[in-house]
C-alpha cells in the first residue's frame, strides 16, 4: 500500500490507443486555461491580452512552479512532504543572513543553502524510513522545527539587502521580456519530466509510488529511492527559496509558508492532466498557470480578494471533479 496514490490512467476505450475521453482528460486543463484566457481577454483585452501581463504572470509564478516540482518527487514515491515550504523559507532566510548580514560571497551562500536543503531531506528520510513513521507526521514535525529555526536565526525580522547579483539573475535579467526565474522553472520541469519518463531511476520512483511491495519484490531498493526522493525535494525547495530571496531581495520568516497549500493544489490539479492519474511535471506546470491566469483576470477586473479564493478553491475542486466524471468516478486513494 502506498501512502499517496492517484487512480491509474484510464485505458483507451477501444484498445486502439486513442480515446476521446482520454484525450479530453489529458488536455482538458490546457483547454480550461485557454478558455480562461479567452474569457478575460474578451472582457478586458487592452489590459489582459498584453505581453507585459503574460510576462509578469510567467515570471512571478516561477517560485510556485519550482516548489510544486519539489513536492511532486516524494508524492510520486508515495510520500507527503509538508516541510517543503518551511525549507523554502529557511533557504531564503539563510541567503539573507549569510549574504546580506554576514557578507558571505553569493556562490558560497548558495552552496551552503542547497546542502542544507539536502540535509533536511536526509533527516526527513531517515525518520520516515528508519523509525517507520508516516511521512505526514515526520515532515509536519520537521517543518515546524524549521519554522522555529527561521525565527531564531532571523530574530523574527525581515532581512533585506540580498545581493543584487541574485536579484538580477532571478528577476531583472530577461529573455523575451520574461525574467530568468521562469526559464529556471521551465528547465527544471523539463528535466524532471525527462527523468520520470525516460530514465530507469525515474521509472523506479514511479513503481515505488504505485506499489512498494511489488517494487521491493521486483528488486528495487525501495527505501533508497524514497530517501533520495526526500533529498531531491529538499534540494528543490532550497532552490525555490533562493528564487524567493532573489525575487524580493529580502527574506521574511513567515510569508513563504503560505505557498504550501497552493503547491499541493497545483500538484493534485496537475495530476488530472497531461498524464492523468499521475503526479506529473507538465500537468503541475499547466495547473499553476491556469490558476494564476484566472486570478490575474479577476484582479484586473478589480474584484475583491475573496473572489480570488473562490476561484482558486473552486477551480481546484471543480477541475478534479470533472476529471473524475471523465474517468467514471474511479476511486482516488490517499491512504
Amino acid at each position: 500500500m502506498t501512502a499517496v496514490e492517484t487512480a491509474s490512467p484510464p485505458p483507451a476505450a477501444d484498445g486502439s490507443g486513442f480515446s476521446i475521453k482520454a484525450f479530453a482528460e489529458r488536455f482538458g486543463l490546457l483547454g480550461a486555461w485557454a478558455g480562461v484566457i479567452v474569457l478575460f481577454g474578451a472582457i478586458n483585452p487592452d489590459a489582459y491580452l498584453t505581453w507585459i501581463n503574460f510576462s509578469t504572470m510567467f515570471s512571478s509564478q516561477a517560485i510556485l512552479v519550482v516548489l510544486t516540482l519539489g513536492l511532486l518527487i516524494p508524492l510520486t514515491a508515495g510520500d507527503f512532504d509538508l516541510s517543503v515550504a518551511s525549507t523554502m523559507v529557511l533557504s531564503a532566510m539563510m541567503v539573507a543572513v549569510l549574504n546580506a548580514l554576514n557578507g558571505w560571497p553569493l556562490v558560497h551562500t548558495l552552496v551552503v543553502v542547497v546542502l542544507t536543503g539536502a540535509l533536511i531531506g536526509v533527516v526527513n528520510g531517515v525518520f520516515v524510513l528508519y523509525f517507520r513513521i508516516h511521512s505526514l507526521i515526520v515532515t509536519l514535525g520537521t517543518g515546524t522545527f524549521i519554522n522555529g529555526v527561521v525565527l531564531w536565526i532571523s530574530g523574527s525580522q525581515t532581512i533585506g539587502g540580498v545581493s543584487m547579483d541574485l536579484v538580477n539573475w532571478v528577476i531583472v535579467y530577461r529573455i523575451g521580456g520574461i525574467s530568468l526565474s521562469f526559464y529556471y522553472a521551465l528547465i527544471l520541469c523539463a528535466a524532471l519530466w525527462y527523468f520520470m519518463e525516460f530514465t530507469s531511476p525515474g521509472r523506479r520512483l514511479l513503481f515505488v509510488g504505485r506499489g512498494r511491495d511489488v517494487a521491493r519484490l521486483s528488486g528495487i531498493a525501495v527505501d533508497h529511492v524514497r530517501l533520495l526522493s526526500f533529498v531531491a525535494a529538499g534540494v528543490t525547495s532550497s532552490f525555490a527559496g533562493i528564487l524567493y530571496a532573489g525575487m524580493t531581495g529580502s527574506a521574511d520568516p513567515l510569508s513563504g509558508l503560505t505557498y504550501l497549500l497552493p503547491a499541493f493544489a497545483a500538484a493534485f490539479l496537475g495530476a488530472t492532466s497531461i498524464v492523468p492519474g499521475r503526479f506529473n511535471p507538465w500537468g503541475s506546470f499547466v495547473a499553476v498557470y491556469f490558476l494564476v491566469s484566472g486570478i490575474t483576470g479577476l484582479t484586473i477586473l478589480g474584484v475583491d480578494t475573496f473572489v480570488q479564493n473562490l476561484f482558486y478553491g473552486g477551480g481546484l475542486v471543480i477541475a478534479v471533479a470533472l476529471s473524475q466524471l471523465v474517468r467514471k468516478r474511479q476511486p482516488q486513494s490517499f491512504s
Binding site: 509578469t56 533585506g160 503560505t258 486570478i295 478589480g302
Partner: protein
C-alpha cells in the same frame, strides 16, 4: 492564525500634543494656501526631529506605583515590534522601580487566556494587552480580572477616531489617521499634484479602516480628480497576493504612479511587482511603520518614504498611560509618540542597517523621567 497575526505590523501611530492641532486640519474644507502648500505643511511637521511634549500633568510615579505590579501580554513575542515595545516597557518600569512581567507567547489565544488567569491570580494591579490583542477575544477573562479590581488596558490598538471597548479601563489611541494624511500628502507632493494611487491594506486589522479612509479623504481633498484604488489583502496572503495584485493593477492602469502599502512590511512584495512590470523607479512606494528593513530600502532607493516611530518612545508612553490609570489621574486619550518621516535624506540616521530606535533622538527618556518626578 499564527501566521496571520505574527506579521501584523501593528506599528500604531501615536499623536503628540505637538501635532494635535495639525491633525485636526479640516481637509474637507481646503485651506486658503492651496493643496500643495497643505501637503507640504503636513510633511514638514513630520520631518522635524521629534521633541518631547508632556502628555499630561506631572506626578510622583514612584510613590504611586509603590506595592503595585504590572502584567503585559504582547500580541506575540515572535513579532519584533511587540518585543521591542515590551523591552521598552520593562526599561521604563525599572526606571520607576516597580515589577513588570512580560507574558511570552506565540500568538495563541490559549496562551493569552493562560496569561490573563495568571495575572488575575497573582495580584497584579494592571494587565496591558500590548500591540494588537483585541479585547473581544478575552471578554470573560477581562471581566474576571476587573471583578478583582485589576485594571485592564490596551496599547497600540485603536485609531484616534475609534472608541475603545467598554470592557477596558484605558486605551491610549494611536494616530493612524495622521499617518494616512502624511502618506496622501507625500504622494501628492512627489507627483507634483497628480497622484494616481494604489492603496494596499488588510481589513481585518482593527485600525485599517480609519487609516485607509484618512488616505482616501486627504487625497480627495487635495486632488478631487485624481485616481485612487484600494486593494484589500488579508495578512496571511501578503506573500502570495500583494505582488500579483500590484502587477495586475499596473497592467490595468499604466498611469499609476504611487503605491501606498499602509503597513510597511508589505513593501517587500510591492518591489518585485514593480521590477517585473518594468516600473521600478517610475512608480514610487511610501508606507508606514518604520520597520528597519524598510528604512534600509528607503536608504537604497527601493522605497521612497517610510513613516516611523521610536518603539522605545512607545514603551515609555504606554507605561505613562498605564500608571495614570492606576494612580487615578485623568486618562491620556492618545498615546504620546511622534511620527517621523524617513526618506533618502535621513534614512541613514536610523542606522546602517537600520534599527527600531535610532534616528528619533532620545528626548522622551529625560522628558518622561521629569514628568514622573524621577531625578
Amino acid at each position: 492564525m499564527r501566521q496571520i497575526l505574527v506579521r501584523l505590523p501593528l506599528r500604531s501611530l501615536f499623536t503628540r500634543a505637538l501635532f494635535a492641532a495639525f491633525s485636526a486640519l479640516p481637509f474637507a474644507a481646503p485651506s486658503l494656501a492651496g493643496p500643495m502648500e497643505d501637503a507640504e505643511a503636513i510633511i514638514a511637521a513630520h520631518k522635524a526631529m521629534p521633541a518631547f511634549t508632556a502628555p499630561g500633568e506631572a506626578f510622583d510615579a514612584r510613590a504611586c506605583m509603590k506595592d503595585k505590579k504590572m502584567f503585559v501580554i504582547p500580541l506575540t513575542m515572535t513579532n519584533p515590534f511587540n518585543v521591542q515595545v515590551s523591552k521598552a516597557m520593562e526599561e521604563a518600569a525599572a526606571t520607576v522601580g516597580f515589577p513588570l512581567t512580560n507574558w511570552d507567547n506565540q500568538l495563541k489565544v490559549d496562551q493569552w487566556i493562560q496569561g490573563m488567569a495568571q495575572a488575575t491570580a497573582d495580584g497584579y494591579a494592571l494587565i496591558d494587552l500590548q500591540g494588537g490583542i483585541p479585547p473581544e477575544a478575552l471578554m470573560p477573562q477581562i471581566a474576571a480580572a476587573r471583578e478583582k479590581g485589576i485594571k485592564v488596558t490596551t496599547t497600540h490598538l485603536y485609531d484616534v477616531t475609534q472608541e475603545k471597548s467598554d470592557s477596558l479601563d484605558a486605551s491610549a489611541r494611536t494616530n493612524y489617521s495622521q499617518a494616512g494624511k502624511i502618506l496622501a500628502a507625500w504622494a501628492f507632493k512627489k507627483t507634483e499634484g497628480k497622484p494616481n494611487v494604489v492603496i494596499i491594506g488588510s481589513d481585518e486589522i482593527i485600525p485599517t479602516a480609519p487609516f485607509v479612509k484618512s488616505i482616501q479623504e486627504t487625497l480627495a481633498a487635495l486632488c478631487p480628480d485624481c485616481k485612487q484604488k484600494y486593494v484589500n489583502v488579508p495578512v496571511p496572503e501578503w506573500g502570495t497576493k500583494i505582488q500579483s495584485s500590484v502587477q495586475s493593477a499596473l497592467v490595468a492602469d499604466p498611469g499609476i504612479n504611487f503605491i501606498l502599502p499602509i503597513y510597511d512590511s508589505m513593501s517587500q512584495f510591492v518591489v518585485p511587482a514593480l521590477r517585473l512590470t518594468g516600473r521600478a523607479g517610475l512608480v514610487k512606494i511610501a508606507s508606514y511603520n518604520g520597520t528597519p528593513f524598510v528604512i534600509d530600502m528607503v536608504r537604497t532607493g527601493e522605497v521612497d518614504m517610510n513613516i516611523g516611530e521610536s518603539l522605545g518612545w512607545v514603551g515609555y508612553a504606554a507605561i505613562d498611560v498605564n500608571m495614570r490609570a492606576l494612580c487615578g489621574l485623568p486618562p491620556v486619550e492618545n498615546l504620546n509618540s511622534p511620527l517621523y518621516i524617513f526618506d533618502a535624506e535621513n534614512a541613514a540616521t536610523a542606522g546602517v542597517p537600520a534599527t527600531f530606535n535610532d534616528g528619533y533622538g532620545d528626548s522622551h527618556i529625560a522628558g518622561f523621567k521629569a514628568l514622573w518626578g524621577i531625578e
